[in-house]
């Protein structure tokens, strides 16, 4: 016999993102086996950093969208990666991020700083897979979702996607 959740047509599978301020880190996602995203430069409004941490190995990378390496990310996590981890915890909740990254964190309350330091303490290596271009293009694809006009033809399929008050 299947459980209620397994028999439900409207089972909630992914909790919705929690609201957060986007100015510093406009884009965060758990995808392609990494925590990855885009961090706005503090000094140059036209520049963004593409940052990532790999699940399991915590291999990290940070570079500009023009592929210049971030000076702060030699040897360990830079401030951009720190900001990315903080905002991911705000958006998805610590549990989900910890689970996705397969991080080992001390018992008790976990915030971005605790998670970052837990991963940093394993002395992760720099990620050499050069994922920045694909992360940046995923960010651009994400932004294109702003550009589609609303429609008033009904979408009956959305009946399968009820909202939930539960947060990540």
């Amino acid at each position: 016999m299947l459980s209620y959740w397994e028999r439900s047509s409207t089972a909630r599978v992914i909790p919705p993102a929690r609201p957060r301020k986007l100015a510093k880190v406009p884009f965060v996602e758990l995808a392609d086996g990494r925590l990855q995203g885009v961090v706005s430069s503090g000094s140059d409004i036209g520049r963004v950093y593409v940052s990532s941490v790999a699940a399991g190995s915590y291999a990290f990378a940070c570079s500009t969208n023009n592929n210049r390496p971030c000076g702060g990310a030699r040897g360990s996590f830079c401030n951009h990666i720190g900001a990315l981890i903080n905002e991911s915890v705000l958006q998805y909740g610590a549990d989900r991020v910890v689970r996705y990254l397969k991080a080992e964190v001390p018992e008790g309350e976990v915030d971005g700083a605790v998670l970052a330091s837990a991963m940093r303490s394993t002395r992760p290596e720099a990620d050499t897979t050069k994922a920045a271009a694909s992360v940046f293009s995923r960010f651009l694809r994400h932004l294109t979702y702003l550009e589609h006009a609303p429609a008033t033809m009904p979408l009956p399929e959305m009946q399968f996607f009820p909202p939930t008050r539960a947060v990540a």
């Binding site: 299947l2 459980s3 209620y4 959740w5 397994e6 028999r7 439900s8 047509s9 409207t10 089972a11 909630r12 599978v13 992914i14 919705p16 993102a17 929690r18 609201p19 957060r20 301020k21 986007l22 100015a23 406009p26 884009f27 758990l30 995808a31 392609d32 086996g33 706005s40 409004i45 036209g46 963004v48 969208n65 958006q91 960010f139 651009l140 694809r141 994400h142 932004l143 294109t144 979702y145 702003l146 589609h148 006009a149 609303p150 429609a151 008033t152 033809m153 009904p154 979408l155 009956p156 399929e157 959305m158 009946q159 399968f160 996607f161 009820p162 909202p163 939930t164 008050r165 539960a166």
Partner: protein
Amino acid sequence: MRADLLAGPFDGLDEALEAVDAFDRALVAGLLRPQPAGAGPARLADAVVGTPLAARVAEAAAKAAAGAAGEEHFLALAGARTALLGSVHDALLARVEEAAGRSHGTESAPPAAPGAAENVLTAARAWLSDLARCGWQGLDHEVVSGAAEVVTAMLPDPSLRRLATLLDGFAAELAASCPGASAERFPVRRWADLWSRGMLLTVPGAAGAPVTGTADGRLLPLGIDVQEHATAAQAQVHAVFEPADGSASRLVRASVSVPKPDTVVGAGIWQLLRPHMSLLAAAGEGRSMDLTGMPVTAEGDLVWSDEHARTGEPAEAFATARVALPTAVAHVTAPLDRHPARLAVPVFLEGYTASTDDDGVLTFTVAGLELLVDTDRVPAAGPLTPEAVGTSGACIALVRWDAGAFHVQPLAVETTVRRKVTAVHAGAWAGGTTDKAGVRAEKAATDAAKVLSERAGRLLRK
């Protein structure tokens, strides 16, 4: 409402769902390899013997049993599953309408007209077929990521929005569950629902819902239902429509939907939808609207455009629910849309006992029947809370059915605040709000949207 009628039993329901479950279990392991005798596809074929689908589905089941099913066979199996759940839908709907004392029109919805074949539809079907072969247990990022290109190609075309939105939400769930080999469990019926629905929508023309007439008269909103996944949202206003020609009033819906970035949530969704449908503000403020020549489908969906509507007199939703709703006539459901998850029948409830169990699950006892109250569907960006529902004395709700039971989704309640009966609406913030918490949520959403459009303006190639 004669809630006792909702208790069941329903002839043939268990048998239909058993065949569906058997097929759904086959999708867990995938259809790439030969199936054991009497496995899911064969059960589906048995269930549609004696229907016009019988021969095609039997052939598809035989191919699937041999591990040699192709896209046409998957489509036939999806069709059989959809037909079975369509019959479940019909039985459930008949019972709800009987319980609510509602009649529906005799006009039937026109069958979908054949449409032009499009490459994106072919690509979507190929992706869904890959999914069926690998099964949920065989999911990996490579197979799931195949959806992105299809969705990107479809989203800009409003006529492909139904399939695009479905696949986008489905693929996000699949991606979050990768790799399938290490998942403990799967939303078995849900994913089979989404898969079958996607399959059918790849048939050219299947997603068309033709406009069959126009509506002139007065529209009295009952409440707003919100649906959303990470990258899309839809608001549906349920309303009673009183035709200007004096004919019987009808139950109608008006919908507005939009793709969105996943970080636009809560009040941000209202902000995206609000400018495209003046009805949201009217419903939020408790006003009627006067319609002139508004396009409407055979399913009772108003295809909204503001030029055909004008804000009218105040119309309190509970007055509409008490006076106009009981005699309003419902529409029929389009053949392909018949699915239990589609049931959303507006009703007015009062004289119930609300009780909350230790797990926080709320039930209304209506005429002796315990009905689960789905407070989780009440949008967070609104003043209605589970607590307010739990202390309410009257409720405008949608009757729904899921996982074997009816439940109710509150759209609005009457509750006593400082010894005064007050109406609280789930969609009260749709048109904007002066509520303190609401204003804060609006401000946060405005800031988020501003950042994203600034980034888009600077970084997206124009």
